[in-house]
């Protein structure tokens, strides 16, 4: 099997190109996805290839164009809607919560909304408090939608293609720091499994559960734990935030009996708390130590570099959370 070296950004673009080329119902719609090439240059060049009907620049009307995506999905299309950042997506929450997530149920199963919405999430670029929060846990709260967080180049391409095969709305959260990430992946674009979490590094002493932009930090922490502390950390990449693959997380806990959940979102009411509760409910007897959480500090994201770094999870904080446990 031949492989190709792509960045995460190019991988998303490859999936978009593949979908646009192979399915007439697919179109991309969002702010500056056309001539500008997308705020993160993901759709660069696609306007020239597919024209303005299918690579459709939308005005700054998040609720309007996310809602139009829902309507177009009802009308037989396969829209991919790009929202610049997760903070901006809040302007469309009415359409997401009240329509995309409810229409199937509320219509007694008559409607389905095969819509894909992509957006950048996460901190680390000094964009301050209105551009780079990690609010994907809010989306993961909503029955009726699926929430994906690709952390690797392969998943960036494959999860988008998988999302396009789903009959229901799928939200994809792309951590903005991952776009330049490079990797060698299969040349042939194809959908990947989105039902399961992935064990990215095997270990037997502690499980680090994470997703998206924090995967790299956890892998770095696992390397440090091995080299400096002689501890074998297993790293579980959630990949799909809703529905959660609790089975894979529990299987890892059964091996390690210790868990740290690493999540850029705020700790209170967040995804890490949800996973921790599930471990308590379903894996209480497996636990040798209370589940620990390394989350975003509960502040609006600050601008200054040193403050921003301190507000985000880091490999050091993950290592510290593990080494504080008794083994």
């Amino acid at each position: 099997m031949s492989t190709v070296k792509l960045t995460y950004r190019e991988a998303v673009r490859a999936a978009l190109r593949h979908a646009l080329a192979t399915d007439e119902r697919v179109f991309l719609m969002g702010e500056d996805v056309g001539g500008y090439g997308g705020a993160f240059a993901v759709s660069l060049g696609l306007l020239d290839e597919f024209g303005p009907d299918r690579v459709r620049n939308a005005p700054l009307s998040e609720s309007g164009f996310v809602g139009a995506g829902i309507g177009a999905a009802l009308g037989g299309m396969r829209p991919i809607v790009e929202v610049m950042t997760i903070n901006f997506s809040l302007l469309a929450l009415d359409q997401v919560v009240n329509n995309a997530a409810t229409l199937r149920y509320m219509s007694g199963g008559q409607l389905s909304v095969p819509l894909v919405v992509r957006m950048a999430t996460g901190g680390g670029r000094q964009m301050a408090a209105q551009h780079e929060h990690s609010l994907e846990a809010w989306y993961a709260h909503i029955p009726g939608i699926k929430a994906l967080a690709p952390a690797t180049v392969g998943d960036a391409r494959g999860m988008l293609l998988a999302a396009l095969q789903e009959p229901d709305p799928v939200f994809i959260f792309e951590h903005a720091l991952l776009y330049p990430l490079e990797d060698e992946i299969d040349e042939e674009p194809c959908a990947v499994d989105i039902a399961h979490a992935a064990v990215r590094r095997e270990g037997s002493d502690v499980t680090l559960v994470t997703y998206g932009g924090s995967l790299g930090k956890c892998l770095a922490a696992a390397a440090t734990l091995a080299e400096e502390h002689g501890l074998a950390a297993e790293v579980v990449d959630l990949r799909t935030l809703r529905p959660l693959d609790t089975e894979t997380i529990l299987a890892s806990l059964a091996k390690t009996h210790r868990m740290v959940i690493v999540d850029e979102g705020w700790k209170t009411g967040g995804l890490a708390g949800e996973i921790s509760a599930q471990m308590m409910e379903q894996g209480f007897d497996l636990l040798d130590w209370p589940v620990q959480r390394v989350c975003g500090v509960e502040v609006p994201m600050p601008y200054a570099k040193h403050l921003e770094e301190a507000a985000l999870p880091s490999a050091e904080r993950v290592v510290a959370a593990v080494t504080e446990m008794a083994f």
């Binding site: 609720s63 309007g64 139009a68 995506g69 309507g71 009308g75 329509n99 199937r104 509320m106 007694g108």
Partner: protein, 340 residues
């Protein structure tokens, strides 16, 4: 018995000031009366606690839903609001399925998951029943976008109230539809009140059609208490959308005779104002017009009323006897069940 919406026979009528023709006129009268009697029976069933939740009645506004529906074909789509019983009936959704829905039964048009505010019928392209004011407009834009991208010449009719005009989604949607020249027929049912607040206290510019014009789309004011005026304007607008895709906008002046919902004590409207509007009752006005034109006899009216009463008795009996959704289906249809 209600004929399906947008029959070919009526579509061929000339678009401007159609002469009253007996069969079609009686159809319009029957449809408006069906809506009114349906709503009266719904209120009665609410008082008997068989219907719960919110119940918003369409009484007073019948000419709008019934008139507009004459201009639509079965291929056209409808997006409506939480006050959608009139549109649903006029579109041909069976009264029994609507009553069953409000009774919370499995045979309801939304399997008892929606209730009064959320009627759906995909086979009739009836896309709700949207209870977020303004929330249906972007969906209508999207349905029209899908038609445009797939080269289909059909209309998406989007009903909303004057209250929606203050919402951002109204402006976003009008802008998108005009910018992309999408085949949406925007239908503002201006009944003067956003729940309990007069539009004069709500909108800096209460001439709503001017807002649409500012987006570069043809807009018209219509007497929403005159079913013929509504039908005529709706036909003209729908045909325009079909011929030259691009949005059109109708502001339909109407009034609800009842409170906002069954939960509303209606403290904010002067009695005189309500009485004044009742003098323009769309059904009474049309009846009078038909009698003057010698198109309606007492016998005709009695026959219509008796047909409707029988239909509604049957609808209520059907709803009462209908099964409820089994509890094991509580979480069914949150997601589509994928085979394999």
């Amino acid at each position: 018995m209600s004929p399906p919406a947008g029959q070919p026979a009526t579509r061929k009528r000339p678009p401007r000031q159609p002469a009253l023709e007996r069969e079609h006129s009686l159809h319009l009268l029957r449809e408006m009366l069906r809506v009114r009697r349906f709503e009266e029976r719904a209120a009665e069933q609410y008082s008997l606690t068989r219907i719960r939740g919110f119940l918003h009645l369409y009484i007073g506004e019948e000419a709008v839903g019934v008139g507009v529906m004459q201009a639509l074909t079965p291929d056209d789509a409808i997006v409506a609001t939480y006050r959608e019983h009139g549109q649903a009936l006029a579109r041909g959704l069976p009264a029994a399925s609507l009553m069953s829905e409000m009774f919370g039964k499995a045979t309801g048009c939304s399997r008892g998951r929606g209730g009064s505010m959320h009627f759906f019928d995909i086979s009739r392209r009836f896309y709700g029943g949207n209870a977020i004011v303004g929330g249906g407009l972007p969906i209508a834009v999207g349905l029209a976008l899908a038609d445009r991208l797939q080269g289909r010449r059909r209309v998406t009719a989007c009903f909303f109230g004057d209250g929606a005009v203050a919402e951002g989604e109204f402006h976003e949607s009008l802008n998108l539809a005009a910018l992309w020249q999408l085949p949406v027929l925007f239908l503002c049912e201006n009944n003067e009140y956003a729940m309990g607040t007069s539009i004069r206290d709500e909108l800096a510019q209460p001439d709503i059609h001017l807002r649409a014009e500012s987006y570069g789309m043809p807009a018209e004011e219509v007497d929403g208490m005159d079913v013929i005026a509504v039908e005529t304007a709706a036909r003209r607008a729908a045909e325009a959308v079909r011929a030259d895709p691009g949005p059109r906008f109708l502001e339909l002046h109407t009034y609800r005779f009842r409170a906002h919902s069954m939960a509303d004590p209606d403290l904010y409207r002067a009695k005189g104002e309500v009485e004044h509007w009742k003098e323009r009752d769309p059904i009474a006005l049309f009846e009078e017009r038909l009698r003057k034109a010698k198109l309606l006899s007492d016998d005709d009216l009695a026959a219509i009323e008796s047909d409707i009463a029988a239909e509604l008795d049957q609808a209520i009996a059907t709803a009462e006897a209908a099964p409820i959704e089994p509890l094991e289906d509580l979480t069914k249809d949150v997601y589509t069940l994928v085979a394999g």
